[in-house]
């Protein structure tokens, strides 16, 4: 073993670690630091006043923050429940390898690949009150009056949920189908020989065997819900009222609309705590880089 091998790994990781430290870790720490200040856009930071825990106390009693957290959970509940149910059901139905499967799979990942901004634009057009296609078909097929979809709190919420389901159900589908196809065929064969019926195969054999995949997919989607902002920014801007303002968008609006940078930082800290807790859960379930690490 030559000497330089001791130092080499650090030389290899140093540049990447430095960039991540400066571009990701430092901003998170800085958000924490800023959260103790009363800082508004337009004033230099030197003039910002140190206010201790004031921003956090204010946050605890702030009905807008509470509403935004509630909207985020409500959005997460509906989108993830429906996406998981649909994605798993479709994967179970369509898991058998068939001719042409790759063509379909190519089409299914398209919604995942296109820009969230574009997704927001297209669905905003489809939901448009005047020229939108959804109103047209609801009128033509069911005789319904045109709705101002994005101008009504409940309808706007429904619209962003539907958009999210369109974009993200394929993600669950692709992950679950990959998990199902990786199941050892001997186990399935054994269950079959033991007389397991269709329901038992699904609920007592297949789904339990991919349960860690399901949990990880669920946690990843949950994290995404806390990161999401583009689609709502484009479709509704968070409105009407705060009915579609997820936590990430709330932070953005507080920082750059209300111009309260310090206060927005305090809410950022709350967001980062939630997201890191969820990420830690994923790490505990399965860190792909761990196996070799416990020397």
């Amino acid at each position: 073993m030559r000497d330089h091998r001791l130092l080499t790994p650090y030389l290899f990781i140093a540049p990447a670690v430095l960039v991540m430290a400066a571009g990701l870790v430092y901003p998170v720490v800085d958000a924490f630091y800023l959260s103790f200040h009363d800082w508004k856009i337009g004033t230099p930071f030197d003039k910002a006043e140190y206010v201790g825990w004031d921003n956090y106390l204010r946050m605890l009693g702030d009905p807008d923050v509470r509403e935004s957290i509630w909207v985020t959970f409500r959005f997460g509940f509906w989108t993830i429940t429906i996406e998981m149910a649909l994605g798993v059901a479709l994967a179970l139905m369509l898991e058998k390898p068939i001719r042409g499967a790759s063509v379909f799979r190519t089409i299914f990942i398209l919604p995942l690949m296109i820009s969230p901004v574009v997704v927001g634009l297209v669905w905003r057009y489809l939901f448009d009150a005047r020229v939108g296609w959804i109103n047209h078909y609801l009128g033509a097929w069911f005789g319904l009056e045109p709705q101002v979809w994005l101008g009504d709190p409940e309808l706007a919420f429904f619209a962003i949920v539907l958009t999210d389901i369109w974009q993200w159900t394929p993600f669950i589908f692709i992950i679950v189908i990959a998990g199902l196809q990786a199941l050892p065929s001997e186990v399935l064969e054994a269950a079959r020989i033991d007389g397991a019926n269709w329901w038992q195969m699904i609920f007592l054999v297949k789904l339990p065997m991919i349960s860690s995949i399901l949990v990880i997919a669920l946690l990843m989607r949950l994290i995404d819900v806390f990161r999401a902002l583009e689609v709502m920014y484009i479709m509704t801007g968070g409105g009407p009222g705060r009915s579609t303002e997820l936590l990430s968008l709330h932070i953005y609006n507080r920082a750059f609309d209300a111009q309260l940078l310090g206060y927005a930082s305090a809410i950022s800290v709350l967001l980062i705590v939630i997201v890191f807790a969820l990420s830690a859960a994923i790490l505990i379930i399965g860190n792909p880089m761990k196996e070799t690490s416990d020397v």
Binding site: G23, F45, M93, L110, A182, P288
Partner: protein
């Protein structure tokens, strides 16, 4: 496989389901393309016309002419390619070290890499804005390139780590016995075997940089805008020009569409990398 798919009713049902899903996935994308080829009058009549309209390129002429789309396109291409190159270069070195060596702090680096991967862009927004204001460097593409590289590194490292793990370590040991230096091993032995791994990482990295919106909105000015920011600027409260917006949207989704059609298998490998083993 138990119960072969021989039953013709089952096969037909299977394909019908898949076709229906495919139509649902493709429908909004087709609506966007079709709308981008319609003139303003057709759009504002509000009748959904799927196929039979007189196509026109006037929306595209507008966005490339008065819309200054070419400038924003150039910005997006520069930011996307430079940050992708940097991410792959730095991330590749890091992933290689993590996959191959055992050193103090390895577990810490591996775990924190996965943790910072999840940092929400909204959390970066205020501090990034503060940094830019403090250094007085608004209106510079380098700022975006820097943040996109940082944002993409964790996932790239994670992905490349998996690919390096698949390469038998004996190959490198043989090269070292033959007297190759670590850098020679990396560039001569491993890189040629890692082509597909780097291709997947490049697709995901470029896609994030190409699609990212919120940091670009905050950190760019009139001349440095990227495409997603430029297109959002066309949304006004009064009279949205849908034809032009859809033309911009169509052009924005072209690179991701091309990647998807040429590398669907690799993309699925990347998407499932985190959750499915084996």
């Amino acid at each position: 496989m138990y119960e072969p798919l021989g039953n013709p009713w089952r096969v037909t049902g299977h394909y019908l389901c898949l076709c229906l899903l495919a139509v649902i996935c493709l429908m909004p994308i087709w609506v966007m393309l079709a709308t981008s080829l319609k003139d303003e009058i057709t759009i504002f009549q509000g009748n959904p016309i799927w196929f039979f309209f007189v196509p026109t390129l006037e929306n595209y002429e507008y966005i490339f002419g008065r819309g200054k789309f070419d400038r924003y396109l150039a910005n997006s291409v520069i930011v996307g390619t430079v940050s992708t190159f940097l991410t792959l270069f730095l991330g590749g070195l890091c992933a290689y070290a993590l996959a191959r060596s055992r050193f103090t702090g390895r577990t810490f680096v591996a775990n924190s890499t996965l943790l910072v991967r999840m940092v929400p862009p909204a959390v970066l927004a205020v501090p990034a804005f503060a940094m830019v204001v403090a250094f007085g460097i608004t209106n510079d593409l380098l700022v975006l390139i820097f943040f996109y590289t940082a944002l993409n590194l964790p996932f790239a490292i994670w992905l490349l780590f998996g690919f390096y793990k698949q390469i038998p370590v004996e190959l490198e040991e043989a090269a070292i016995v033959d007297g190759a230096s670590p850098l020679q091993v990396f560039f001569r032995v491993l890189l040629p075997l890692m082509k597909s791994g780097y291709a997947v990482a490049a697709i995901f990295t470029f896609r994030i940089a190409w699609n990212e919106f919120i940091l670009a909105l905050l950190l760019t000015g009139r001349k440095t805008r990227t495409l997603p920011v430029a297109v959002s600027g066309f949304l006004t409260d009064t009279g949205v020009e849908w034809g032009r917006i859809m033309a911009m949207g169509t052009l924005i989704v072209i690179p991701p569409l091309i990647f998807t059609f040429f590398a669907a298998r690799q993309i699925i490998a990347g998407l499932t990398a985190g959750s499915v083993k084996g």
